[in-house]
Each structure stands twice: as structure tokens, then as C-alpha cells.
């Protein structure tokens, strides 16, 4: 791919006159090889494998109910996956989302029980989530020299801390009947949460791949300085993405609470890592700049169905842990092995960025 381009490139190089640029074609090159080399196909394969294996190990797996209803049981986290994907495309990571979920959920519950109408309580929840994210963003913009790890690490502790301050170790619930419909109800047989998920997936996908904003995200992931020099408001984008992340964490909080009918400060422990794992499995490089929406979507279902299937077979939790961990590593390894092309490209680009330095020989 790149290699071919460079070969053609070499030929051109010897063609003299600098004056005429008519050589330059503007038609999109298309190669089926590249098309089928896409990471998503790998994920599709894995997903099918998971489904097949599940159907074999459990008689209860292969039915309409599994595919329409059960996603509801693992989709609540999924809402964070998309903004986290944005964050990771920026080459950063936000480990405070789990705590943000807890904080916004707790505040929603408390404010409702303090007499706020449910609608307003939900809005407040969203607001809190967004605010939490915005604070992360602000800290990162205002203190550039701070690494995102330490910032989100400390807010992770602080946000959950606040949740504890508000609610102690009590639970808070007693929401109106209708509220539980969010997680349990369905429209025409399709769970509401599934519908919400599809909407989220589509809109995030469009923003990422079709808008200026998305384009800028990828650019920043590769080279933030070049972006700034190209007149892109990098600070604003960084800030927006983290705010978005907080906001979606609040969405997760709403569905999670609706699912449990009550909430407490220790919900959503360790969500951040599960979410990051899904994004990574989705082929989004944690070094930034690379990723397509399809990957994480597939990853969500792979992890979800894997866990569900093994649950149907009543495998013990430790086994499930091992399997999922191995899956993450193995699939990423497969990524490396299948994508020699990328490897060459990476080599050349580092050779370019870091100068005539190492290439992976």
C-alpha cells in the first residue's frame, strides 16, 4: 500500500519538469486488499466465533431473545465507549469516568428524593456529568505540563469521594415507576436502551468521520502542534471531548440507576478499565490518531456476548476473567501479525518524524 505509493513516487521523482503538476491525480485509489485488511473484519470474525461457540456450549443462547433483549444487560457501559474513543484518539485517557457515573447518579437520586421532579433530576445528572468532564478538560488545558494520567487519576478519587460525602454508605432510590422503563422497557419489542445505543453510535460515528470536528480530532491525535499551527483551536477541542466524556458518563449513570432502581456511591467501580479495554479491542490505537467507530461497536458486542454466553454455561467468574483478558491480548497480537503493511508504514513515518532514525528492521 504505502510501499506501492512510494514505488510510484520514486518513478515520478526522476520525471523532471517541476513546472507542471498535471501528474497529480485526485481520484481516490481503491484496493480490495486494503479493504479486507481492515481491523473490523477481524472483529466480525471473532464475534461470529463467539456466537457459534456460545450456541454450542449453551442451549439457551441461540434465540431471538438473546439478540434483542440481552444487549440491554451490557449496553449501559457502552455509552462511555464512544466519547472514550474520542479521548483515546486524542492520545489521552480518562480514568475518572467510573467515578463520574457514581457522582452524577448519586446527585440525581439525592436531588429527586429532595423533591426535584424526575425530569429535572435527570437534567441535573447530565449537568453534573458534563461539569465533571469539563473540570478534567479545564485542568488539562490550563496546566499543559500535567499528564492526563495524574489529572484524571486524582479527579477519579475526588469525584467518588464527593459521592461518598453526599450519600455516606447509604443507597438512594425510590424512583417513579416510569423511570425503570428506561433500562427495562422496550418500544415495539426493541429495548429502549438498545435504541438509545444505536442513536448514540450513529451520531458519534457521523461526528467522528464526517465533520470538521472529527477530522480535527484525528489530526490532534497525530500531531497537536501541527494542528495549532494550522489554526485549529486545540484547547477548545480537548476541552469539548472531555466534557462530552463526562456527559455520556452521566447517560450511563441514568441507565444504570434505572436498571438498579437505586444507586449508591460505589456503583460503576472499574468501569473505566472495561471501557478502555473495549476501545482498544476496537482497534483504536492508544497512541492516538487512529480508529473507526465500527471497531468499538463490534468490541462491545464481542465482550458482552462472550460474558453472557459463558454466564449461560455457568462458567465461574475467574474463568471469564482469564478468557476476556486473553482475548484482548491475543486479538491485539493478531492485529500486529496481520498488519505488516502498517508496520512498514509506521517505520517510515517514525523515520520521518524522528528523522533518519530507527526503522523496525
Amino acid at each position: 500500500m504505502v510501499a506501492e505509493e512510494e514505488k510510484r513516487e520514486r518513478k515520478k521523482r526522476s520525471v523532471p519538469p517541476p513546472g507542471d503538476g498535471t501528474l497529480l491525480s485526485t481520484t481516490m485509489p481503491w484496493s480490495w486488499k486494503d479493504f479486507f485488511l481492515q481491523w473490523e473484519w477481524m472483529l466480525v470474525a471473532v464475534l461470529s466465533l463467539v456466537i457459534v461457540v456460545n450456541s454450542l456450549i449453551s442451549p439457551f443462547f441461540l434465540n431471538w431473545h438473546t439478540f434483542i433483549r440481552t444487549p440491554a444487560s451490557f449496553l449501559d457501559k457502552a455509552f462511555i465507549v464512544f466519547p472514550m474513543m474520542f479521548v483515546i484518539i486524542l492520545g489521552k485517557i480518562d480514568i475518572s469516568v467510573g467515578s463520574t457515573v457514581a457522582l452524577s447518579a448519586v446527585i440525581m437520586a439525592v436531588s429527586y428524593n429532595a423533591g426535584l421532579p424526575m425530569g429535572l433530576a435527570i437534567l441535573l445528572c447530565l449537568g453534573v456529568g458534563a461539569a465533571a468532564g469539563a473540570i478534567n478538560g479545564f485542568l488539562l488545558v490550563a496546566f499543559r505540563e500535567l499528564s492526563f494520567v495524574i489529572v484524571t487519576l486524582s479527579t477519579m478519587i475526588i469525584y467518588r469521594g464527593i459521592a461518598y460525602i453526599i450519600l455516606g454508605n447509604r443507597a438512594s432510590g425510590g424512583f417513579p415507576e416510569g423511570f425503570s422503563l428506561l433500562a427495562w422497557g422496550s418500544l415495539g419489542g426493541v429495548p429502549i436502551i438498545l435504541i438509545a445505543f444505536v442513536i448514540a453510535a450513529v451520531s458519534f460515528g457521523l461526528v467522528l468521520h464526517k465533520t470538521v470536528f472529527g477530522r480535527a480530532l484525528f489530526a490532534m491525535g497525530h500531531n497537536a502542534r501541527a494542528c495549532r499551527h494550522s489554526g485549529i483551536n486545540t484547547d477548545l477541542i480537548l476541552w469539548t471531548v472531555f466534557t462530552l466524556n463526562g456527559l455520556m458518563a452521566a447517560v450511563t449513570a441514568i441507565f444504570l440507576t434505572s436498571r438498579m432502581g437505586s444507586t449508591r456511591p460505589n456503583v460503576a467501580m472499574g468501569y473505566e478499565l472495561e471501557v478502555i479495554a473495549m476501545v482498544a479491542l476496537g482497534g483504536v490505537s492508544t497512541s492516538g490518531g487512529v480508529g473507526r467507530i465500527g471497531g468499538p461497536v463490534l468490541a462491545i458486542f464481542i465482550v458482552g456476548f462472550l460474558g453472557y454466553g459463558m454466564g449461560l454455561a455457568n462458567l465461574q467468574a475467574p474463568i471469564v476473567l482469564v478468557v476476556i483478558g486473553t482475548l484482548l491480548i491475543v486479538s491485539v497480537l493478531a492485529h500486529k501479525i496481520r498488519f505488516q503493511g502498517f508496520k512498514l508504514f509506521r517505520a517510515r513515518s517514525t523515520a520521518a518524524t524522528a528523522g533518519e532514525k530507527n526503522q523496525e528492521v
Partner: protein
Amino acid sequence: GRAEQTGTGRHAFVFKNTGNPYGEKQMEGFGVGIGEQGFEAILRAPDQPTAEAQIQIIEQLIAQRVDSITVTANDYDALQPVLRQAREAGVRIVSADSAVNPASRLTHVNQADSEMIGRTLIQAAYDMAGGEGQIAILSATSQASNQNLWIEWMKTELEENPEKYAAMDLVRVAYGDDLRDKSVSETEGLLQTFPDLKVIIAPTTVGIAAAGRVITDRNLVGQVFVTGLGLPSEMAEYIQNGATPYMFLWNPIDVGYLSAYVVGALIRGEISGEAGETFEAGRLGIFEVTRAPDGGTEVLLGAPFRFDPGNIDEWKTVY
């Protein structure tokens, strides 16, 4: 009932989390009890002690059309929605050890009467402190319902007979989050802040073991006493070296075993979960369904069992 439809009588037990010997024993007991009645037992536990995880497991069990689910809840209320689903799917719901709210369960298997536990622990402290001195409570930030209930009863016990406990005062309730390291620093914090502390009551297996450890390391055995609820295996050393003259716990195997028979009785229609009904629980004998403080019904296993140097050796290897 469903048993005929699905042919197999499959009954699930969901504990709080894996890798917890106390839970393993409950599941073991449940398995035995179910086996004795000729049913098939499914034993599950999430890797994290959270309600979210338990919800997922319960959904998987519903999908398998099990006949009953017995759950040791990580959250009193949070399981209600999913348990409603289960009930609508015709699954019978029982909670054991750590309850779910009455709306969600047919009945609850209570390992021991909270009031009795609370009062007994204070009396034990009284007895160890020789009637006077400071006492402190080392709890876990109990997300599980029972923890705080016991502490409440301890306080009532103190308030209700002021003259008896005149010379004793409860100086603090500390929280060790059921984490080893935090429980240790909390204990050390207590010792630092209250130099003449007499007794530490820890109604949590991790907390009491951590406390015992600190007392032993600091050679405070004989000056500060630890009691509460603990696993014999974990506490054997401290009971033998006198850091913990005695402590209490029920037999988790029996908790599981009894639950199994409650389930069986429900399936066979011997009971419906109403107060006043009685049934026969294998080797444990006859039990009666009674009103529970929280408005639902419960089956009470019995008084907490007292572990002391006399009997610890035979129990430490059991659980």
C-alpha cells in the same frame, strides 16, 4: 409448577463475590441441601461484589429458566427490578444471609437475629473490658444491609441500660472498607488516638482479622481485646494467642443448607413464604417462617455460634 414443564429442577445460588471462603461454604451447603432433595444446583458469584454484576448473573439464570434463585445480595434494593423480571418468568426468589427487600423475595434466610448479634457483641465487650473502658467499632463501609443494622443494635444495647454500661463509652466507629491495608491503618489510627482503648468490636471478617493482626504485632495482647464476627480459620491464631478471647459466627454451611430446604419447601408447595408456616429442613430439623423486622418474612437459622480456645481447633479447618 415449572419443575414439571422444564423437567429438571434447577436451583441457583448467587453469592456476593468469588474467592470468599465464607461464600464458598454457603454455596457448598446449598449444593448439599439441593442434592439431598434430588435437584440440580447452580452456584454462581461475580468477580466483584457489586449489584450490577449480580443483576447480569440473575438475567443469565432467568434465560436458563431455572426454577429458583437464592441470592446473597450486594444491595438491599438494587436487585428489585431484575428480581421482578425473574418472578414474572415464574422463578421463585429467596434471599439468604444478606437480604433483598420484601417486595423482591418470597422469604429470607437469616443467619442470625440482628438484635441478638448487636446485643451479644456489646455484652462480650463488657465482659472483656471488665465492665469499664473505651470501646471502638471497626466496620466495613457495609454496602450489604446487615452491617449497619448490627451497629444500630449495639448502640441501643448501650443506651437501654445506661447504668450497666456507665463506665464504658463507645469512642468511634471506624470503617476499613473490608480492605486489609485500610483496616490495618484504621486499627492503628484507633490505637494511636485512644491510647487506653480496651476493646475493638469488628463485625466483619476482614476487619476483625486485621485488628487481631495489629494487636498481635504490637504485643498488645491482654491490654486490647478484639471481638466480633470472624471466620474461625482466619481468627484461629488470635483466639489461641488471647488477642480475641472469643468471637461469634454462624455456620455458613448451615445457612446454605437451610436455604436449599427453604427452596425445596417452596417448590413442593409446603410453604408459600407466609409467616407461621413450618417445614422440615433435613438434618437441621423443623423451622418456622416468621415476620422479619423489615416487614417481610424470614427463616431464622439460630443463635450465632461462639468460637473460643476450647472449640476453635475443630472449626478452623472447616471454614
